[in-house]
């Protein structure tokens, strides 16, 4: 078997050169691994490889020179010089594979590793501007969009971040673009870093304007619809009255036909009493139709007073019931619930409602002369409903149980109109 020293000088020089080349590569990889702070095992493997790459050519060259000087080889020099060439070939192949794997790993690591350059590249591609600065305003980092925005805002290169913090949240630039700027303090121990993000909200701003206009149009449409529906309601009531009048007309028609039958048959087909009853009904219906007209808000109060009188609990109102329909409805409903409860639970015969007002509220205080004093009132359907209605319109409703039950409602007045 041929050993290393039996080969020509050219082959030996090639082996030495390759080993030296891989020695250089190993040193480069070791330095990179140390810089990147890789695992200890990888660094150790690199280091062992370098040692081998360093010792091997040295020993081979030494043994070569000793042989040429006619001296005997011994120890490690003898061992390496007597190794067959295929051992070096196999070692070379293994080393090549190792370097290929390491280089591939290094390339992959470069792709996934976050570096300053990769951060800058990524942030420069963002549409939003990002800036990190010390609390003094000294710039630490800013991306391309932020430099561009700063230039549009201040007309100069970004060195000091303070103008970004003082420019307000929404800024319209000279070119009509709208930017939103937000700053936030990030603390790392004692170090405070201010993060500023600026993003282009021109489209959002324009859409908001458009949305506002659309909502306004929609609101107008709703108001129109509401008015239209109210009118339809009135027309419907009129239609119902008309329908009733048609029925009265029909009834009158039947009366006339019946009367004719009575006259023709000389009272044999239909009796005089029946005719009179029919005409009596017709007159009543005719009379009733004359009263079918719109009822004013004040009638609600009159109706309530009349019903309370029938019930046997007189309502004494001090002050004026508001004219505005919503307010009037709430006050009348409150008095109605109060009188019902006062009569039912306290056997009251009189209920006192005091209505006063100031610039912002209508205040209604209700008490009664009930015989039964309660320490506590459990609010059921009526009072609970009233409470909800009053609170829904921003009012306040209080039930006091000291020395008889007292109710107090404070209802806000819109635009000072009652």
């Amino acid at each position: 078997m041929k050993v290393y020293l039996s080969y020509s000088e050219g082959v030996r020089a090639l082996v030495i050169s390759l080993i030296l080349l891989f020695l250089v590569l190993s040193i480069v990889i070791l330095i990179m691994d140390i810089i990147k702070r890789r695992k200890f095992s990888i660094i150790a493997a690199d280091f062992i490889l370098i040692v081998i790459m360093f010792i091997l050519p040295f020993e081979l060259e030494l043994s070569d020179r000793l042989v040429r000087a006619g001296k005997n080889l011994k120890g490690f020099s003898l061992f390496v010089s007597e190794l067959p060439l295929w051992v070096y070939v196999v070692a070379f192949c293994i080393t090549v594979v190792y370097f290929a794997i390491r280089l591939s790993a290094l390339r992959r690591a470069k792709r996934v590793q976050i570096t300053y350059d990769s951060v800058r590249e990524a942030t420069d591609n963002l549409p939003a501007g990002i800036c990190y600065a010390h609390s003094t305003g000294r710039l630490m980092f800013a991306n391309r969009a932020m430099y561009k925005f700063y230039d549009s805002l201040c007309g100069e290169f970004l060195n000091d971040a303070k103008p970004l913090w003082d420019c307000g949240e929404n800024i319209m630039l000279d070119n009509g673009d709208v930017w939103t700027v937000k700053s936030e303090v990030i603390s790392f121990g004692d170090l405070n870093i201010i993060e500023t993000i600026a993003f282009d909200t021109t489209k959002l701003y324009n859409m908001r304007d458009e949305l506002y206009e659309r909502n306004r149009a929609l609101k107008l449409q709703q108001e129109r619809l509401s008015k239209l529906l109210t009118n339809i309601g009135i027309i419907q009531r009129e239609e119902e009255v008309l329908l009733s009048k048609v029925r009265i007309h029909d009834h009158f028609g039947r009366c006339v036909i019946a009367t004719r039958r009575f006259l023709v048959s000389d009272g044999n087909d239909i009796s005089q009493e029946e005719i009179i009853e029919m005409w009596d009904t017709a007159v009543k219906l005719l009379e009733a139709s004359m009263y079918d007209k719109e009822i004013s808000d004040n009638d609600a109060v009159s109706d309530l007073l009349e019903a309370a009188d029938v019930l046997g609990c007189k309502i004494i109102i001090d002050g004026d019931v508001p004219e505005k329909q919503e307010l009037s409805y709430l006050i009348v409903s409150l008095i109605r619930v109060a009188v019902t409860n006062a009569y039912e639970y306290a056997k009251a015969t009189e209920l006192y409602a005091n209505i006063s007002r100031d610039d912002r509220y209508v205040i209604c205080e209700i008490s009664d002369n009930g015989q039964i004093k309660a320490d506590f009132i459990r609010e059921g359907g009526g009072l609970l409903g009233i409470r909800k209605s009053i609170e829904r319109c921003g009012g306040e409703f209080v039930v006091k149980c000291d020395d008889g039950v007292k109710l107090m409602a404070k209802i806000p007045v819109e635009d000072g109109v009652i």
């Binding site: 929609l218 449409q221 709703q222 108001e223 129109r224 619809l225 509401s226 239209l228 529906l229 339809i232 309601g233 027309i235 419907q236 009531r237 119902e240 009255v241 329908l243 009733s244 009048k245 029925r247 009265i248 009904t281 009543k284 219906l285 009379e287 009733a288 139709s289 009263y291 079918d292 009822i295 808000d297 009638d299 609600a300 109706d303 309530l304 019903a307 309370a308 029938v310 019930l311 046997g312 409805y329 009348v332 409903s333 109605r336 009188v339 019902t340 009569y343 039912e344 359907g381 009526g382």
Partner: protein, 207 residues
């Protein structure tokens, strides 16, 4: 002899009902009023056996709400809801309020006298369904329950967002329902649809 309370805001309609009741031997009209909210007070004063209650009464008071209140405090009183409105939800609401019977003034097959008699004998008389009304190219019974809810929101004048929040659906789903409604009725806008629905009394705003 049954004591009767009549609640109807229209004098003519009330007089006609009074005539029908007076025509029956076993009934005695105790009160005849126009405001449903006050009905409970009259029921507290006199022993009332039967209430004939209109739905849309004076000052916008809802007869079904008043009926529910009366039923809570006086469960023995029989209540018949009497209405000329074919409003979609009235029958369901009346049942929920505990009303005993329901009678359409203009659409009923049975006379009021018959309904009163059956009600006082313990029967509950309700129409099988609401009258079918033409809304554009569609019949009212073609609308799904959800579409009726959407219509109710439109008629109340709520915005799309308010309706979707109220019904717990997304705005896109709501728009899909509206699209279906417009497709069924053939109307080009929700305004046309809402107006026709109210005009035909399928839904009444506020009730």
């Amino acid at each position: 002899m049954y004591n009767v309370l009549i609640v109807d805001d229209q004098r003519t309609a009330r007089t006609m009902i009074e005539n029908i009741v007076e025509g029956e031997r076993d009934y005695n009209i105790v009160y005849s009023i126009e405001n449903a909210a006050l009905a409970e007070m009259y029921c507290m004063k006199e022993k009332i056996d039967l209430v004939l209650m209109d739905v849309c009464t004076a000052h916008g008071e809802n007869g079904i709400d008043a009926a529910a209140q009366i039923k809570r405090k006086h469960p023995h009183i029989k209540i018949i809801i009497v209405t000329s409105m074919p409003e979609h939800s009235f029958i369901v609401k009346s049942k929920e309020a505990g009303c005993d019977s329901f009678w359409y003034k203009d659409f009923g097959d049975e006379s009021l006298s018959d309904v009163m008699r059956k009600t006082m004998s313990g029967q509950s008389v309700y129409p099988i369904c609401t009258p079918i009304i033409d809304i554009g190219m569609a019949n009212s019974d073609e609308f799904t329950s959800r579409e009726m809810d959407v219509l109710r929101g439109l008629v109340a004048g709520y915005s799309y967002r308010e309706i979707s929040e109220e019904l717990g659906i997304s705005e896109n789903t709501l728009k899909s329902h509206i699209k279906n409604l417009l497709s069924k009725t053939g109307y080009k806008s929700t305004m046309q649809l809402a107006v026709d629905v109210v005009n035909k009394k399928l839904i009444l705003p506020g009730f």
